[in-house]
Amino acid sequence: MYRQRNTSLLAALLTLVCAWPSLPKAGDAPLRITDIDGKTHEPLASGKTKAVVLVFVLRDCPVSNVYAPEMTRIHKEYSKKGVAIFLVHTDRDTDTKAARAHAKEYKLSAPLVLDHDHKLVRRAGAVITPEAAVFDAKGHLVYRGRIDNLYADYGKKRFNTTRHELRETLDALLAGKSLVKRTTKAVGCYIDFSNDKKDNK
């Protein structure tokens, strides 16, 4: 009897411990994103959006810019299928005007977001640009990392891209699969946290 109660207690504790990391953190608000036009999106509120993608970018990062055509292709293909995609500028020196000019120069089509206080960066746990974060329809982070494996390392651009992790993640979500969080290491430029307020770090 005692033993059984202990076992159930242990099981309950274990469940709690195991489930803990995936529970929303205190104060973890639903995904709310304000773009550079001042429009606030709550993409998951309607229940129609199947996934949300944040791609963290840096205006003068060459690796980030090399991905511009692919980011636009992904935006055009997947926004039709119920995926909300945002390009998130992480640099405090990129203002609305600079972000717009950059999007025009590189023919970027997805909505732009300025994340000067790095709220979205921290929410996704991003450290690199370009780095993609995918949230499922419940708002859980299911993928963070490279868009694909075009770069094997700094200066080591593959002749042939052989993995397309961002597309693969989205295809799996759209196919109704339930995913557990997966991360890959992105190659690119580090996000500058040196000016963040201490409590934000």
Binding site: E105, D153, K156, R158, F159
Partner: protein, 497 residues
Amino acid sequence: MTKKTTNKFIRVRLVLACFAALQSGATAAAKAKPTFTEDVAPIIFNKCTECHRDGQAAPFTFNNYSDVKKRARLIAKVTQKRFMPPWLPVEGHGKLLDERRLSADELATLKNWHATGMAEGPADKIPKPPEFAGGWLLGEPDMIVKMPKAFTVPADGPDIYRSFCIPLEIEEDKWVAGFEVRPSARAVFHHVIIRIDESGEACKADGDGGTPGFSGMRSIGRQSGSRRRGGDNEVFSGSLRGLGGWAVGGTPRILPMGLARKLPAGADIVLNSHFHPSGKGEEEQTTIGLYFADKKPERTLIGFQVPPVFGSISGIDIPPGENDYEVTSKFTTPVDIELIGVGAHMHYIGRTAKAYATLPDGLVEPLFYIDDWDFNWQGDYIYEKSIRLPAGTTVDGTVTYDNSAENPFNPFSPPRRIQWGLESTDEMGSIIFTAVPVNEADLDEFNAAVRQQVIDETRLLAERRSSPGQAKRPPWQHRRSPRRPPRGVEQEQQRRD
């Protein structure tokens, strides 16, 4: 590759790294807590700002504290990996001009600065930011030539390797002592080899299909004109690879000792250019400034290669999956010579290039070594001091290739058999020396030896082909079992840092 071997390899590397650190006299160890003005700025201003400033090819400007602080983590990372500053030749294998390699101390300073929070330091300690002359770095050129039409580099897709012909219409022979390359689209233009074509074929091929330029390196060895005239010209002028190469960040130089490369009357210039798409469409119309010597140089520059003729007669035939395919060759000089410059040429799956000289007294002198070849950073190097090799010295050259799927630069997925060829997805392989005979009177003998090397190599290849099943391998080429981890394994290791 087993894990054990990998670990062993890494240990060896570590030991070597420590040894190198000791050797380079790292006595004044880097400070544990460096500051920008005292420690970091001198490194950045000297080694980085030349390219990392407005209007240059490199991203980011490094003019002041906030510029550098913002990128501190990236700087620490890419310098540790020796991706930056870009400098492929390994220390201790020939002292070269304009070396951009960072010392162990400098690397540690940049790393420690990031790790300790990037202190600014006393304002009055900051060195004067460098000033860069506008305009041509070597002064006003004697002749400025430009691609007749701009080539459009698309926003996206694989790298582009393309040749462009610039018709010259010069009526008398010129002697080129130096050149400066000015790309119009600096973000996408990565490197160029400037060749000379006397056949007229390159300009004929240019523009096929309505797009400026043509694919491949058709101008190699097409300098028959100089051969016909013979006498005072180098025997195989193709060995000099035209006027030389230049990669982003390279410093233009006038050749030492009054030397110059011949640009014969009626010849055309061919640019073998390499582009990286940048994410947006760009137009490239390269301008080249040429600097002429006043007169024909008193000493004649000769090119020789190991293996000769870009590896075309060494039977390069690399099976798919082979990650350590090796080609070796040698050249023995019959006369005293001085080595002036060096470079290497391979394509995407090239892995290493190494050359050393064995002097008649048995002394071995390392001449050149690239331990991690990168097609992107092909430079032409000039020795800080010319290297004198007495008659009877043998120069040994070895190039290796990685045709495995783990090599990210492999143009084929899955890997395919790759042989010698003119296209960038074929392979070439040689270490290219420029040299002069110590006594100009020995020129013919030197030339004859260069010619003989080509004949000997051709004969060896023919012998090998006529008896393919022969157990005895020719001494100059053999395949070995893998002895180093493929590129992918090293990257996995690096990722853990």
